[in-house]
Each structure stands twice: as structure tokens, then as C-alpha cells.
Amino acid sequence: MKFLEKNLIALDVEVNSPEEAIRVAGGLLVSEELTEPRYVEAMLESYQKNGPYFVLAPQIALPHARPEDGVKEASASFVRLQKPIAFGSAANDPVQLVFALGASSSDEHLAMMKQLVMLLSNPVHVENLKTATSYEEIQKMIRRNE
């Protein structure tokens, strides 16, 4: 399981569309060889087909696809957008925090999702993710949370 490790985090990335945001967040999983490149295309297809339902809290999007779309290892990346982008979610736009999930079918997937829920259910953590100035700050918070 690779959860928000250093190479899986990019802060203050400038993008101009939800698709671009998904490509950047998914691209981190691909460059760390945690998913195949086709997984990113599958995430985009799901967005097209099912809409922005994965924008599941104010400002937070969790794009993902299926394990069989090319996931090698349970993983999550994090991209903070420099300027928030509308994904089309009536309740939760605009999105600033994008977590791409490499959804595996292993037990690790469940463990990873629990960790993510623990992190994002706490408004203080979410605020810290918005304001952190370095990877180290985020890493400290994740460690405290484990």
C-alpha cells in the first residue's frame, strides 16, 4: 500500500479543467508504477459516464476506477489545486483537494480507505491539507493519524 507518500503529493498545481486535475492526480500513480496508464483513462471515462458523484465533501474529490482497470498496488495520491475548479457537483464545488485512488481488490484497499476516512473526517486535518506549505507537514499529520 502506498498512501500519500512523498512522490504521490503535489501542492498548488495549476489546472484548467476537472479532466486535467484527474490526469495530474492519476499521473502520480502512473509515474510511481502503482497503476497502468490506462487506469487514468478509466477514471476519466467514469467521470464522463457517472458524473461528479466522487466529489463527496465540500472541496474534496476522490476520482478512481476499478481494480481491473490496471491497478498494481493499493494507492492514493494527493493534488492540491492552486485555484479551485468546478467539477459540476451541486453540493460540493469548487474542488481544491483531489485524491486519486488506486482501488485494488485486496484487503489493503479497505485498510487504505479507512485511513483516508480517518484523515478526511476531521475538519482540522482538511484545513491543514489546504494550508500546509510542505510535504513534511502533511506527513507529520498522517503519522499522528495512524
Binding site: S46, K49, N50, G51, P52, Y53, F54, L56, A57, P58, I60, L62, H64, A65, R66, P67, S89, A90, A91, N92, L101, A103, H109, L110, M113, K114, L116, V117, L120, S121
Partner: protein
Amino acid sequence: MLKILCVCGLGQGTSLILRMNVEQALGEKGVTADVEHIDVSAASSMDADYIFTSNELAESLQGHAGKIIVVNNYFDMNEINEAIDQNIEQ
């Protein structure tokens, strides 16, 4: 026993998060229920008393026999608790 589905587009990530939080809220209220997470197309042909999902997917589930409950913020336990209190007889 109550049968509850938590539904998202693919049945992998988002619905699993919703299920964890719905199960937790039900547990704290002492309600026993069979809670499953599943994708939207499989959900349409499954029996359930209640379906938790997002605003975006609620429309595609119209016509389902189960009562549809929309949750906007999946991490907000207050919203989930209220949704349960308003919709599920305890």
C-alpha cells in the same frame, strides 16, 4: 433485518466510504442492519429497504422500491446521523 445499500458509480471507493460511516452511525444508534456497498447499475436490480447515495446518482435510482436517502457530505457524521433519524424508523 434492515437491508441498506450504499451506492456509487463503480462500487469501489466512494460507496465504501459511505458504508463505513453509515455503519458507524447505525451502530451508535443501536440499529442492526445489513449494509452493503455496490455500483449503481447492480443496485437497480437488488432488493433493499433503504439506499444511501449522492445527489448525482439518486436520479438513476428512481423507481427502486427502497427509499432513497441523499447524502451530500460523506465525511459529515452529523449529516449522516440526521439523514438516518429522518428516514429510518428506529
